[in-house]
Symmetry: C3
């Protein structure tokens, strides 16, 4: 189940990366690299910073195959993906939840402090997008208005809060995912965002 | 003493990063990440390249707390920080000296050649700023006019020169810091900078 | 022989990086860092992702010295390098072949799957240029029209195809390099490139 959600999330991230790159008029190689980086960039950064190398997608090729599949699907159906916008958004939100949990768990297994685990969860879920934006020569979206990352931090805090209740691990994971996914859906529905600083006028 | 200077430097780097991000009108999450990357990005890159993982701020949470404090101080006092410009500049210069020394020392402990140790010292002190500029979608300042990095290289050479004199370690550290900090102060006072190449006209 | 080609490739990459940085009007420190990153950035990323640290140029100083030499040669002869354009292009192409092979081999030694080895070969040959472009605040060239990276992937596939024939290692390496170098020369001569996606019009 969790593995399936991981694959769905990876696919959604890869497709959103590919779409961004196609809008930037990159060539197929560029589109593939941006899809790849969007999907596994956050987890790669996490693995490098905690020293778990070779990084995960080098040891488990399912990520590579899923991204290749997502890349071709995006190219083939690019005219029709606008109609699938809602499904893609849902899958992306599933990815947000699952990737945060994977990051949290890797931090715990490595024996790191909860604060660092929450940082790793957020990094896993959000820094693929940061790397995508850097490669596309943009200031990262999540540094501007999106509360994307804030939801992961919140999810991480909920996770460690629930963990103190000695819940079964499956229930702990399920609850945390549900919280992250629900808050994300509410955030988009009600247009929650962080206000930008306006240094000169404030 | 050295630990205190490390904290002062980290705080100054975090605050300068936060100010830059606020000028770019990022949201609080973006400002925090830029503050974080400016403060510990150089040391993180160093740790990753030499293979000392999990990277330093994952193992010693004082950096995280100092950056969080610097982040809130910058937000609270952002209108008044202009008046503290001189103090902030001094703290930043202290950071330059201390971070260079930390990088040099990590290189020596890892058994690397002096040339590489000097590179690591410079990286520790300067590449947080490089990563900050990349995330803010700018060509890094220190690649253009600033002699910031050149001072670290010079400091590293002085360090290995003095090291041959078999000085006590404390004195060696003190002298190197004083040299780096003094040259930086002189450089700013007398507006020393490296001339840019102008490929077409030269 | 192979070592010599490695040095020639490193020198060519460093010089092309230095030229790019000088066109961007960076100062000498910036030019040096861009030269350095262009030359060893791909290999550094590869080493970090597979966990071979300290990264290669920290352990084998020949790279540092070759880059320093390339940096000074570029500065001294910058007015005349246009006349050497053909030689530089040839050396760059040699670098493409050699670096791909080095990446492939490191992947094999690390025990990774052929698909990942091909990714590592491509990364070693092409991602120095990606990092150079990011530092110069450009969307990476190889993501737009260049088939540079595609040639490395093709070379990697040829390598594993030939490997099944149980050729002698030297012949295997020679053949793969010749293939990569020839395809690159043909690609430039006949202006082969990948078409960019134009999301709106397609």
């Amino acid at each position: 189940m969790f593995d399936l959600l991981d694959i769905i999330g990876t696919m959604a991230f890869a497709m959103s990366g590919a779409l961004t790159a196609m809008h930037k008029k990159l060539d197929p190689f560029g589109v593939f690299i941006i899809a790849f980086v969007t999907a596994v960039g956050g987890g790669t950064l996490r693995d490098v910073l905690i020293g778990r190398t070779p990084v995960v997608w080098m040891q488990d090729l399912k990520y590579v195959y899923v991204i290749i599949l997502g890349f071709f699907l995006t190219i083939l159906f690019r005219k029709r993906l606008d109609k699938l916008r809602t499904s893609l958004f849902l899958f992306d939100t599933i990815g947000l939840g699952v990737f945060t949990l994977i990051g949290l768990e890797k931090g715990i297994v490595t024996g790191l402090h909860p604060v660092i685990c929450i940082a790793l969860g957020t990094m896993t879920a959000c820094f693929g997008g940061v790397l995508r934006d850097i490669l596309c020569n943009e200031i990262p979206t999540i540094f501007r208005r999106e509360i994307y990352a804030t939801i992961c931090i919140f999810g991480g805090i909920v996770f460690f809060g629930l963990k103190k209740l000695n819940l079964d691990n499956d229930i702990l994971y399920l609850l945390t995912s549900v919280v992250i996914i629900s808050v994300r859906l509410l955030a988009v529905k009600f247009k929650w965002y962080l206000p930008a600083f306006d240094h000169k006028n404030n």
